[in-house]
Amino acid sequence: MPKLYDYVLSGSCYKVRLLLSLLGIAYETQAVDFFPGREHKRPEFLALNPLGQLPVFEDAGLVLRDAQAILCHLANTYDASGQWLPRDVRFGSVMMWLSFAGGELMAISGARMIAMLNYAGDLAALQAKARAALRLLDDHLADRAQAGGLWLVGATPTIADIAMFPYVALSHDAGIGHEDYPAINLWQRQVRKLPGFVGMPGVPDYF
């Protein structure tokens, strides 16, 4: 059975749990004591991921790190419909948003760890970066909505939406509300309504 090395409060692990649930894939988890234990920096975990980061996913002998790479693997392996990782003209756009989700948008993760776990760092600078990323997303989603689209890319949800959703929904933990982002507010609701949607602490699954 596939195994997710997991920390329940991690937004990056949540990306993987969310797609696993949407695709209905059975899996087991191994809880990693990220805080306060810092288990992800111990030798046994570094043997799995030398970067010392969650999530890590094991599947049929493969050991994968990076939430975005894991989403690609899951869609590629388990989604026969091809909807979640389309292999046509949409492919490049999906990759673009995956890269953004693991890149610029992670400013929210950094700000959240400072705000919630008292990590060291420049909170104001990370919040400014997070706001810039959220504005870019809101502008894109507003354009999509004006053209009648509900999702980041194309007419169906893809792993781009799934990679983007967790830290957008968790931005409150980083001290950033959604007041400035009406298109994000509408899109978020569509994601929450997907069959099989699951939440996490801070992201209620009430739809």
Partner: protein, 202 residues
């Protein structure tokens, strides 16, 4: 805050949704139940102060995320899940503002003595947050801080922009237009946002 203030495009608050808005540093929320009526309340649950915008709409009621207290369209508390048999005293209520919709926008007032404005139906374009003081934004767009709407010439027509002050250094614009090219108007307003923010940062 005696006057009527436009705080969102109606389009951005469909049935079943909550939306948080900052109005002059106050935390405000909008929600719309199945009856289609937009409600504008203080964004704070009377129970323990949870932000109601994080709650969820069911039918014509808003449920607080924290302990599930349920509020009806009249802002009165209908149900307290921890005490299901209790008839909730009418004194337990959310803090509602007067609200109306006109010109494609949701408007609020904390002093509803004045009648709300009445505008023709206008096509929603976009809401933009601009990191600049309302005084600067209004001056640059040819509006007045005494008026809730700015008429902005665009492509031979006029865009009607509602605006509200989020705080001293942030202005929210709610743009509508009759017959305007929505994508072109959006691009134009984003360019204005950029120049206003560059000026404000300089």
């Amino acid at each position: 805050m005696a006057d009527w203030i436009p705080i969102a495009l109606s389009r951005d608050v469909p049935v079943g949704i909550t939306r948080a808005v900052i109005v002059d540093t106050r935390e405000v929320m909008i929600w719309r139940g199945e009856d289609g009526v937009a409600q504008v309340w203080e964004d704070r649950c009377p129970h323990r102060g949870m932000r109601l915008s994080l709650g969820f709409v069911r039918g014509n009621a808003l449920n607080c995320l924290y302990h599930g207290w349920q509020y009806g369209a009249g802002a009165n508390c209908l149900r307290i899940p921890a005490h299901p048999d209790l008839t909730v005293p009418p004194t337990i209520r959310a803090n509602a503002y007067a609200a109306t919709e006109t010109g494609g926008m949701v408007w609020m007032s904390s002093d509803s003595a004045d009648p709300p404005p009445l505008l023709p139906a206008l096509t929603p374009v976009i809401t933009l947050a601009i990191e600049a003081a309302p005084e600067r934004v209004l001056a640059a767009l040819g509006g007045s801080t005494a008026e809730p709407l700015i008429g902005l010439p665009f492509a031979g027509g006029t865009l009607q922009l509602g605006w509200h002050r989020a705080h001293a250094a942030k202005t929210m614009l709610h743009a509508t237009g009759a017959g305007a090219d929505i994508a072109a108007a959006t691009a134009h307003l984003r360019a204005l946002r950029q120049s206003l923010e560059q000026e404000a940062a300089a």
